[in-house]
Symmetry: C2
DNA sequence: CTATATTAAGACTAAAATATCTGAATATTA
DNA sequence: TAATATTCAGATATTTTAGTCTTAATATAG
Protein backbone atom coordinates (compact mmCIF):
# COMPACT_ATOMS: atom_id res chain seq x y z
CA UNK A 1 0.00 0.00 0.00
CA UNK A 2 1.19 3.49 -0.77
CA UNK A 3 0.42 6.47 1.37
CA UNK A 4 1.78 9.90 1.84
CA UNK A 5 1.21 10.58 5.49
CA UNK A 6 0.91 8.09 8.31
CA UNK A 7 -2.50 7.30 9.72
CA UNK A 8 -1.57 9.23 12.83
CA UNK A 9 -0.76 12.23 10.74
CA UNK A 10 -3.99 12.02 8.79
CA UNK A 11 -5.94 11.94 12.05
CA UNK A 12 -3.96 14.89 13.35
CA UNK A 13 -4.72 16.94 10.26
CA UNK A 14 -8.41 16.15 10.49
CA UNK A 15 -8.62 16.92 14.18
CA UNK A 16 -6.69 20.17 14.13
CA UNK A 17 -8.75 21.46 11.22
CA UNK A 18 -11.83 20.70 13.24
CA UNK A 19 -10.49 22.68 16.15
CA UNK A 20 -9.65 25.52 13.78
CA UNK A 21 -13.35 26.11 13.24
CA UNK A 22 -13.84 26.95 16.90
CA UNK A 23 -12.94 30.01 18.95
CA UNK A 24 -9.45 29.88 20.40
CA UNK A 25 -10.44 29.35 24.02
CA UNK A 26 -13.25 26.93 23.31
CA UNK A 27 -12.29 23.45 24.48
CA UNK A 28 -13.40 20.41 22.51
CA UNK A 29 -13.50 16.97 24.08
CA UNK A 30 -11.95 13.90 22.52
CA UNK A 31 -15.39 12.40 22.57
CA UNK A 32 -16.80 15.04 20.28
CA UNK A 33 -13.85 14.73 17.92
CA UNK A 34 -13.94 10.94 17.65
CA UNK A 35 -17.68 11.02 17.19
CA UNK A 36 -17.45 13.51 14.36
CA UNK A 37 -14.34 12.18 12.70
CA UNK A 38 -14.62 8.46 13.38
CA UNK A 39 -11.17 8.06 14.88
CA UNK A 40 -10.37 5.51 17.64
CA UNK A 41 -10.74 7.29 20.96
CA UNK A 42 -7.51 6.40 22.75
CA UNK A 43 -5.47 6.64 19.62
CA UNK A 44 -6.64 10.16 19.00
CA UNK A 45 -6.03 10.97 22.67
CA UNK A 46 -2.38 10.09 22.28
CA UNK A 47 -2.01 12.11 19.13
CA UNK A 48 -3.59 15.18 20.68
CA UNK A 49 -1.40 14.88 23.76
CA UNK A 50 1.57 14.75 21.47
CA UNK A 51 0.50 17.88 19.66
CA UNK A 52 -0.10 19.55 23.01
CA UNK A 53 3.40 18.74 24.22
CA UNK A 54 4.67 20.29 21.02
CA UNK A 55 2.69 23.45 21.61
CA UNK A 56 0.33 23.21 18.65
CA UNK A 57 -2.61 22.53 20.93
CA UNK A 58 -3.56 23.40 24.47
CA UNK A 59 -5.53 21.20 26.83
CA UNK A 60 -7.59 21.45 29.94
CA UNK A 61 -8.70 18.69 32.30
CA UNK A 62 -11.98 18.25 34.03
CA UNK A 63 -15.54 18.90 32.94
CA UNK A 64 -15.68 21.65 30.29
CA UNK A 65 -12.12 20.59 29.52
CA UNK A 66 -10.77 19.33 26.22
CA UNK A 67 -8.41 20.48 23.51
CA UNK A 68 -8.07 23.72 21.63
CA UNK A 69 -5.53 25.39 19.42
CA UNK A 70 -2.34 26.34 21.18
CA UNK A 71 -1.95 29.49 19.10
CA UNK A 72 -4.07 31.55 16.71
CA UNK A 73 -5.24 29.57 13.70
CA UNK A 74 -3.68 32.13 11.38
CA UNK A 75 -0.24 31.10 12.66
CA UNK A 76 -0.68 27.38 11.99
CA UNK A 77 -0.32 25.59 8.66
CA UNK A 78 -0.82 21.97 7.76
CA UNK A 79 2.92 21.74 7.43
CA UNK A 80 3.35 22.41 11.15
CA UNK A 81 1.16 19.42 11.87
CA UNK A 82 2.94 17.12 9.44
CA UNK A 83 6.25 18.27 10.81
CA UNK A 84 5.15 17.49 14.37
CA UNK A 85 3.86 14.02 13.63
CA UNK A 86 5.68 12.53 10.64
CA UNK A 87 8.65 14.81 10.40
CA UNK A 88 9.98 16.41 7.27
CA UNK A 89 12.27 13.71 5.86
CA UNK A 90 9.90 13.23 2.95
CA UNK A 91 11.08 16.62 1.73
CA UNK A 92 14.56 15.32 1.04
CA UNK A 93 14.17 11.60 0.46
CA UNK A 94 14.42 9.92 -2.92
CA UNK A 95 11.01 8.73 -4.07
CA UNK A 96 12.58 5.53 -5.39
CA UNK A 97 14.27 4.83 -2.08
CA UNK A 98 17.87 5.49 -3.05
CA UNK A 99 20.08 6.52 -0.16
CA UNK A 100 20.82 9.96 -1.60
CA UNK A 101 18.49 12.45 -3.23
CA UNK A 102 20.17 15.25 -5.08
CA UNK A 103 20.68 16.67 -8.52
CA UNK A 104 24.25 15.41 -8.44
CA UNK A 105 23.31 11.76 -8.74
CA UNK A 106 19.67 11.95 -9.74
CA UNK A 107 17.49 8.89 -9.98
CA UNK A 108 15.28 8.40 -13.01
CA UNK A 109 12.56 10.73 -11.79
CA UNK A 110 14.44 13.13 -9.58
CA UNK A 111 13.65 16.32 -11.49
CA UNK A 112 9.97 15.58 -11.67
CA UNK A 113 9.75 14.42 -8.11
CA UNK A 114 11.60 17.46 -6.81
CA UNK A 115 8.95 19.61 -8.48
CA UNK A 116 6.07 17.59 -7.12
CA UNK A 117 7.58 17.63 -3.68
CA UNK A 118 7.76 21.39 -3.80
CA UNK A 119 4.14 21.31 -4.83
CA UNK A 120 3.28 19.29 -1.76
CA UNK A 121 5.12 21.76 0.39
CA UNK A 122 3.26 24.65 -1.19
CA UNK A 123 0.01 22.82 -0.69
CA UNK A 124 0.76 22.50 3.02
CA UNK A 125 1.90 26.05 3.68
CA UNK A 126 -0.09 28.17 1.21
CA UNK A 127 -2.93 28.85 3.64
CA UNK A 128 -3.36 28.86 7.38
CA UNK A 129 -5.65 26.30 8.94
CA UNK A 130 -8.50 28.77 9.43
CA UNK A 131 -8.73 29.34 5.69
CA UNK A 132 -8.14 25.66 5.04
CA UNK A 133 -10.98 24.61 7.30
CA UNK A 134 -13.35 26.98 5.55
CA UNK A 135 -12.48 25.45 2.18
CA UNK A 136 -13.74 22.06 3.26
CA UNK A 137 -17.04 20.63 2.15
CA UNK A 138 -16.87 17.60 4.36
CA UNK A 139 -20.08 16.74 6.22
CA UNK A 140 -17.98 15.93 9.28
CA UNK A 141 -17.28 19.64 9.65
CA UNK A 142 -20.70 21.12 9.06
CA UNK A 143 -22.45 23.10 11.77
CA UNK A 144 -19.65 23.05 14.26
CA UNK B 1 7.29 8.69 8.93
CA UNK B 2 5.85 9.65 5.60
CA UNK B 3 6.59 7.84 2.39
CA UNK B 4 5.02 7.51 -0.98
CA UNK B 5 5.74 3.95 -1.95
CA UNK B 6 6.30 0.99 0.32
CA UNK B 7 9.82 -0.27 0.84
CA UNK B 8 8.94 -3.30 -1.26
CA UNK B 9 7.86 -1.06 -4.08
CA UNK B 10 11.02 1.03 -3.88
CA UNK B 11 13.11 -2.11 -4.12
CA UNK B 12 11.05 -3.32 -7.05
CA UNK B 13 11.55 -0.06 -8.91
CA UNK B 14 15.28 -0.15 -8.33
CA UNK B 15 15.63 -3.77 -9.37
CA UNK B 16 13.52 -3.59 -12.50
CA UNK B 17 15.38 -0.50 -13.67
CA UNK B 18 18.59 -2.42 -13.22
CA UNK B 19 17.28 -5.25 -15.33
CA UNK B 20 16.17 -2.73 -17.94
CA UNK B 21 19.80 -1.98 -18.66
CA UNK B 22 20.42 -5.55 -19.79
CA UNK B 23 19.44 -7.43 -22.94
CA UNK B 24 16.02 -9.03 -22.75
CA UNK B 25 17.19 -12.65 -22.51
CA UNK B 26 20.10 -11.98 -20.19
CA UNK B 27 19.39 -13.43 -16.77
CA UNK B 28 20.56 -11.62 -13.65
CA UNK B 29 20.89 -13.42 -10.33
CA UNK B 30 19.44 -12.12 -7.09
CA UNK B 31 22.97 -12.14 -5.78
CA UNK B 32 24.13 -9.61 -8.33
CA UNK B 33 21.11 -7.40 -7.70
CA UNK B 34 21.38 -7.38 -3.93
CA UNK B 35 25.10 -6.73 -4.15
CA UNK B 36 24.60 -3.75 -6.41
CA UNK B 37 21.52 -2.32 -4.81
CA UNK B 38 22.02 -3.26 -1.18
CA UNK B 39 18.67 -4.94 -0.72
CA UNK B 40 18.11 -7.88 1.67
CA UNK B 41 18.53 -11.09 -0.34
CA UNK B 42 15.44 -13.06 0.58
CA UNK B 43 13.23 -10.03 0.65
CA UNK B 44 14.21 -9.13 -2.87
CA UNK B 45 13.72 -12.75 -3.91
CA UNK B 46 10.11 -12.62 -2.82
CA UNK B 47 9.51 -9.35 -4.58
CA UNK B 48 10.99 -10.60 -7.84
CA UNK B 49 8.98 -13.81 -7.66
CA UNK B 50 5.91 -11.68 -7.20
CA UNK B 51 6.72 -9.62 -10.26
CA UNK B 52 7.39 -12.82 -12.18
CA UNK B 53 3.99 -14.25 -11.30
CA UNK B 54 2.49 -11.02 -12.55
CA UNK B 55 4.34 -11.29 -15.84
CA UNK B 56 6.55 -8.23 -15.52
CA UNK B 57 9.64 -10.41 -15.14
CA UNK B 58 10.70 -13.83 -16.31
CA UNK B 59 12.84 -16.24 -14.35
CA UNK B 60 15.02 -19.28 -14.93
CA UNK B 61 16.35 -21.73 -12.38
CA UNK B 62 19.74 -23.32 -12.26
CA UNK B 63 23.21 -22.01 -12.99
CA UNK B 64 23.07 -19.19 -15.55
CA UNK B 65 19.55 -18.65 -14.27
CA UNK B 66 18.12 -15.53 -12.69
CA UNK B 67 15.62 -12.85 -13.55
CA UNK B 68 15.04 -10.77 -16.64
CA UNK B 69 12.33 -8.56 -18.03
CA UNK B 70 9.18 -10.39 -18.95
CA UNK B 71 8.52 -8.13 -21.92
CA UNK B 72 10.42 -5.51 -23.91
CA UNK B 73 11.58 -2.59 -21.79
CA UNK B 74 9.77 -0.18 -24.08
CA UNK B 75 6.46 -1.69 -22.98
CA UNK B 76 7.06 -1.26 -19.26
CA UNK B 77 6.64 1.90 -17.20
CA UNK B 78 7.28 2.57 -13.55
CA UNK B 79 3.56 2.69 -13.11
CA UNK B 80 3.28 -0.98 -14.03
CA UNK B 81 5.64 -1.79 -11.21
CA UNK B 82 3.88 0.37 -8.65
CA UNK B 83 0.58 -1.09 -9.76
CA UNK B 84 1.87 -4.63 -9.27
CA UNK B 85 3.33 -4.05 -5.80
CA UNK B 86 1.44 -1.27 -4.04
CA UNK B 87 -1.67 -1.05 -6.15
CA UNK B 88 -3.23 2.11 -7.45
CA UNK B 89 -5.42 3.18 -4.54
CA UNK B 90 -3.19 6.18 -3.96
CA UNK B 91 -4.60 7.57 -7.19
CA UNK B 92 -8.03 7.98 -5.64
CA UNK B 93 -7.48 8.31 -1.92
CA UNK B 94 -7.80 11.53 0.01
CA UNK B 95 -4.38 12.76 1.12
CA UNK B 96 -5.85 13.78 4.48
CA UNK B 97 -7.34 10.34 5.01
CA UNK B 98 -11.01 11.16 4.61
CA UNK B 99 -13.14 8.25 3.48
CA UNK B 100 -14.10 9.89 0.19
CA UNK B 101 -11.99 11.80 -2.28
CA UNK B 102 -13.91 13.76 -4.86
CA UNK B 103 -14.65 17.25 -6.01
CA UNK B 104 -18.15 16.88 -4.61
CA UNK B 105 -17.03 16.98 -0.99
CA UNK B 106 -13.47 18.21 -1.26
CA UNK B 107 -11.14 18.32 1.72
CA UNK B 108 -9.07 21.43 2.30
CA UNK B 109 -6.41 20.52 -0.25
CA UNK B 110 -8.30 18.38 -2.70
CA UNK B 111 -7.75 20.56 -5.78
CA UNK B 112 -4.06 20.87 -5.22
CA UNK B 113 -3.60 17.25 -4.32
CA UNK B 114 -5.55 16.09 -7.35
CA UNK B 115 -3.13 18.04 -9.51
CA UNK B 116 -0.07 16.71 -7.75
CA UNK B 117 -1.40 13.18 -7.96
CA UNK B 118 -1.80 13.58 -11.69
CA UNK B 119 1.76 14.79 -11.73
CA UNK B 120 2.90 11.64 -9.97
CA UNK B 121 1.03 9.58 -12.51
CA UNK B 122 2.64 11.46 -15.37
CA UNK B 123 6.01 10.99 -13.75
CA UNK B 124 5.46 7.25 -13.66
CA UNK B 125 4.17 6.79 -17.20
CA UNK B 126 5.91 9.49 -19.21
CA UNK B 127 8.84 7.29 -20.20
CA UNK B 128 9.44 3.57 -20.50
CA UNK B 129 11.94 1.94 -18.19
CA UNK B 130 14.67 1.78 -20.82
CA UNK B 131 14.70 5.56 -21.12
CA UNK B 132 14.26 5.90 -17.38
CA UNK B 133 17.27 3.74 -16.65
CA UNK B 134 19.42 5.78 -18.99
CA UNK B 135 18.47 8.98 -17.18
CA UNK B 136 19.95 7.71 -13.94
CA UNK B 137 23.26 8.89 -12.61
CA UNK B 138 23.34 6.48 -9.74
CA UNK B 139 26.69 4.73 -9.19
CA UNK B 140 24.80 1.52 -8.48
CA UNK B 141 23.91 1.34 -12.17
CA UNK B 142 27.20 2.21 -13.79
CA UNK B 143 28.96 -0.29 -16.04
CA UNK B 144 26.28 -2.90 -16.02
C1' DC C 1 -15.91 18.48 50.24
C1' DT C 2 -17.51 15.05 47.01
C1' DA C 3 -18.82 13.19 42.79
C1' DT C 4 -17.93 13.48 38.08
C1' DA C 5 -15.95 14.44 33.63
C1' DT C 6 -12.20 15.14 31.54
C1' DT C 7 -6.99 14.80 30.01
C1' DA C 8 -2.17 12.44 31.01
C1' DA C 9 0.71 8.68 30.92
C1' DG C 10 2.28 4.45 30.17
C1' DA C 11 1.69 -0.50 29.70
C1' DC C 12 -0.23 -3.63 26.80
C1' DT C 13 -2.11 -5.96 22.50
C1' DA C 14 -2.97 -6.47 17.53
C1' DA C 15 -1.92 -6.01 12.91
C1' DA C 16 0.92 -4.97 9.18
C1' DA C 17 5.30 -4.41 7.05
C1' DT C 18 9.85 -5.92 6.74
C1' DA C 19 13.24 -9.37 6.92
C1' DT C 20 15.20 -14.16 7.53
C1' DC C 21 15.52 -19.14 7.23
C1' DT C 22 15.01 -23.70 5.33
C1' DG C 23 14.13 -27.11 2.18
C1' DA C 24 12.40 -28.34 -2.41
C1' DA C 25 12.49 -27.95 -7.43
C1' DT C 26 15.03 -27.25 -11.51
C1' DA C 27 18.51 -26.33 -14.86
C1' DT C 28 23.51 -26.55 -16.09
C1' DT C 29 27.88 -28.41 -16.36
C1' DA C 30 31.27 -31.71 -15.94
C1' DT D 1 24.78 -39.36 -13.46
C1' DA D 2 26.50 -36.30 -9.83
C1' DA D 3 27.58 -31.83 -8.12
C1' DT D 4 26.30 -27.18 -8.13
C1' DA D 5 23.92 -22.85 -8.68
C1' DT D 6 20.00 -20.97 -8.97
C1' DT D 7 14.75 -19.82 -8.27
C1' DC D 8 10.34 -21.25 -5.66
C1' DA D 9 7.51 -21.68 -1.70
C1' DG D 10 6.24 -21.23 2.63
C1' DA D 11 7.26 -20.94 7.56
C1' DT D 12 9.14 -18.05 10.98
C1' DA D 13 11.03 -13.93 13.20
C1' DT D 14 11.54 -8.98 13.91
C1' DT D 15 10.21 -4.29 13.73
C1' DT D 16 7.05 -0.70 13.15
C1' DT D 17 2.56 1.14 13.23
C1' DA D 18 -1.98 1.11 14.91
C1' DG D 19 -5.08 0.57 18.47
C1' DT D 20 -6.69 -0.61 23.47
C1' DC D 21 -6.82 -0.59 28.42
C1' DT D 22 -6.04 0.98 33.01
C1' DT D 23 -4.87 4.09 36.47
C1' DA D 24 -3.64 8.67 37.98
C1' DA D 25 -4.15 13.67 37.95
C1' DT D 26 -7.00 17.64 37.70
C1' DA D 27 -10.71 20.84 37.09
C1' DT D 28 -15.76 21.76 37.66
C1' DA D 29 -20.18 21.75 39.62
C1' DG D 30 -23.21 20.79 43.14
S1 LIG E 1 17.29 11.07 -6.33
FE1 LIG E 1 15.38 10.11 -6.51
S2 LIG E 1 14.00 11.71 -6.09
FE2 LIG E 1 15.93 12.67 -5.85
S1 LIG F 1 -10.88 14.86 -0.73
FE1 LIG F 1 -8.93 15.06 0.18
S2 LIG F 1 -7.64 14.85 -1.54
FE2 LIG F 1 -9.58 14.60 -2.43
Amino acid sequence: MSLIFSRQCEYALQAVLYLALKPLDDMTSIKELTKRLDIPYHFLAKILQDLTRKGLLSSLKGPTGGFGLGMPAKDITLFHIVEAIDGVEFMHNCVMGFPECSGKNPCAVHEKWANLRDGVYTMLVSKNIAEMAKNMRKPEYQSV
